[in-house]
Symmetry: C2
Subunit: 323 residues, 2 copies
DNA sequence: AAAAACATGTCAACCGGTTGACATATGAAA
DNA sequence: TTTCATATGTCAACCGGTTGACATGTTTTT
């Protein structure tokens, strides 16, 4: 059996209370006893049972993360940072891959509450999950509006969309098409589209948006339907990459005949497609802010918190827009 | 305050024991009471406290995952599958990004034990962490030898290395160079190199291996030192991508003058670099096997378990080796 | 010499659920 | 009619650590 405080006490020749005092640095403890206790813990290979501790102090130092999938480089990188920052603050992270499925998301939400997490950071959201409105449980959304009361952190999507579209316009593109993720989501990322449309109109150009499907077949369709397209602003780098692929197959030269810009600029895409123009999201900063907002909610419950935090991204010009 | 069993009991007009019985489906419960109890739980928004439950049943249904970083597409995808499969079995996942740092890894190991995880799956390992030898705590390694007693799951790295090297040989390459990850790690992935060397020698060719550094500067050096290189087998796709980039900069045509093959074949690399030849790892199968082995250890403690599981990968021929 | 600070111990309640023992009551089967 | 399966209640111990109250020393300070 795993040793408990009582066993440590016996070996150290002190009382359980004293061991607990050493563990928590409370009250008076003599240096020699402290050493005795630590020796006993080492000898027994004792690890304090955090489950018992959590039960009593009513705090688990657990944060639930709900995102579509770590497989996606953007979420993978975001989650990496979230976990990292959480760890420096003494928090642990329960990972949930919702895969964009509402049923999974609800189950995870339920599970996290049963496991008494201290807070939740979510970037997965299927419209109309009112379950996020949980009294007494701090929640922060990342790039997703979860409810009117839940703070959201996101990059400056409007500005990013503007940067991307404007770049294509500046490069002389006339038939610029935007490819969106599923627009059913209530996400600030929709502002990228809004910006695209605004910039287009401001330049007397006609906006045209395609919504991506699971298997990127929409891209073929786009080329069929718009043979004169000369600029594509994809709402993420993976889509941009598929555009490039399709263009290659059609012998459309990038950037001469077609200019492409993506969105996200994750480490992975930077490594794998260094030539891709993109709008890089401030992933680390988003993570920092999200944790900060969550911890703030946990600490001073009813303090007013910023409902929307927007962090600027960065335009990266690559070969796909003509260098 | 959060409602507890007692509160539910009061609202439902039954005893706490009855509520617990409903919750756990134990003993005799009448249909009408079951309904009453469920209604009360719903009304109160009651979530059973898993922390209290875990304490008593001495099982948390938590699995610790220690990997370098979710930011890397391989680990991101692996972790996605691990979490997914774990979830279907009722297990939750505590995520740890060790970043290849020994100190972090040790801290995580410590943390996971304090949090009473039921098992650990680790793919991060700095040589000489004997801490993995934990009595009574099931551990499974993924692509890393953790200790002589801990089961490892990996793809068939020797076979993969052979496939990759043989392909380059078959395509007529004479000066084939291998680029490795840090070889200090005790990983089955080293077998890729072994296979490379064996195949080279079997074809009367001289093997030459470079070890990658953090910033890929070694790749420039490789080209400087070996102007006649005509084939490169990179031990992962990210490295392969850097090779391609460097080749482009030097106006070396791929695949005419240089053929390149990577390793991993993650979803992300398949999307971003569809043309890259690679050896695709059976990531999902690795995850499945790892969980299976872990759960087996948890269930029948002292049952003998397979110490090494090797799952075959798949060669994907792309344009970078000449189609 | 008295007061204050230091050091440790004993004891019990508590966190929220689980479980076994035991009691009681009802309706159905033998 | 007796027995048994069903249905629910009461009670208390337990999981492992925390904490406050209180007691009893020993040192330091004043």
């Amino acid at each position: 059996m795993k040793p408990k405080i009582e066993d440590v006490a016996k070996v150290a020749g002190v009382s359980p209370t004293t061991v607990s005092r050493v563990l928590n640095n409370r009250g008076y403890i003599g240096e020699s006893t402290r050493i005795k206790v630590h020796k006993a813990m080492e000898q027994l290979n004792y690890y304090p049972n955090e489950v018992a501790r959590s039960l009593f102090i009513k705090k688990t130092f657990l944060i639930g993360l709900i995102f579509p999938t770590t497989s996606n480089p953007f979420y993978g990188q975001l989650i990496f940072h979230l976990e990292n920052i959480a760890a420096t603050l003494g928090y642990k992270v329960l990972l949930c891959n919702s895969q964009g499925r509402e049923d999974k998301e609800k189950n995870y939400l339920n599970m996290l509450q049963r496991n008494q997490v201290d807070g939740i950071i979510a970037g997965a959201h299927n419209k109309g999950i009112e379950e996020y409105e949980m009294p007494n449980l701090p929640v922060v959304g990342v790039d997703r509006y979860l409810s009117s009361k839940i703070p959201v952190v996101s990059s400056d999507n409007y500005h990013g969309g503007k940067l991307a579209t404007q770049l294509l316009v500046n490069k002389g593109c006339k038939n610029i098409i935007h490819i969106n993720g599923p627009i059913s989501l209530e996400t600030p990322a929709n502002l990228r589209r809004k910006a695209y449309e605004d910039i287009m109109r401001a330049n007397q150009l006609t906006p045209l948006t395609y919504e991506i499907d699971d298997h990127f077949t929409i891209i073929k369709q786009l080329f069929e339907e718009n043979p004169r397209v000369d600029g594509i602003f994809a709402s993420d780098d993976l889509i941009a990459s598929q555009v490039i692929r399709e263009a290659k197959e059609r012998n459309i030269d990038i950037p001469t005949d077609l200019k492409v810009i993506g969105y996200d600029g994750t480490e992975t895409t930077r490594l794998l497609l260094p030539g891709l123009s993109t709008v890089q999201q401030p992933i680390k900063e988003i993570a920092e802010k999200a944790i900060e907002l969550l911890v703030k909610q946990m600490d001073d419950k009813d303090d007013a918190i910023q409902l929307e935090t927007i962090i600027p991204g960065k335009l990266i010009e690559g070969e796909t827009t003509g260098g």
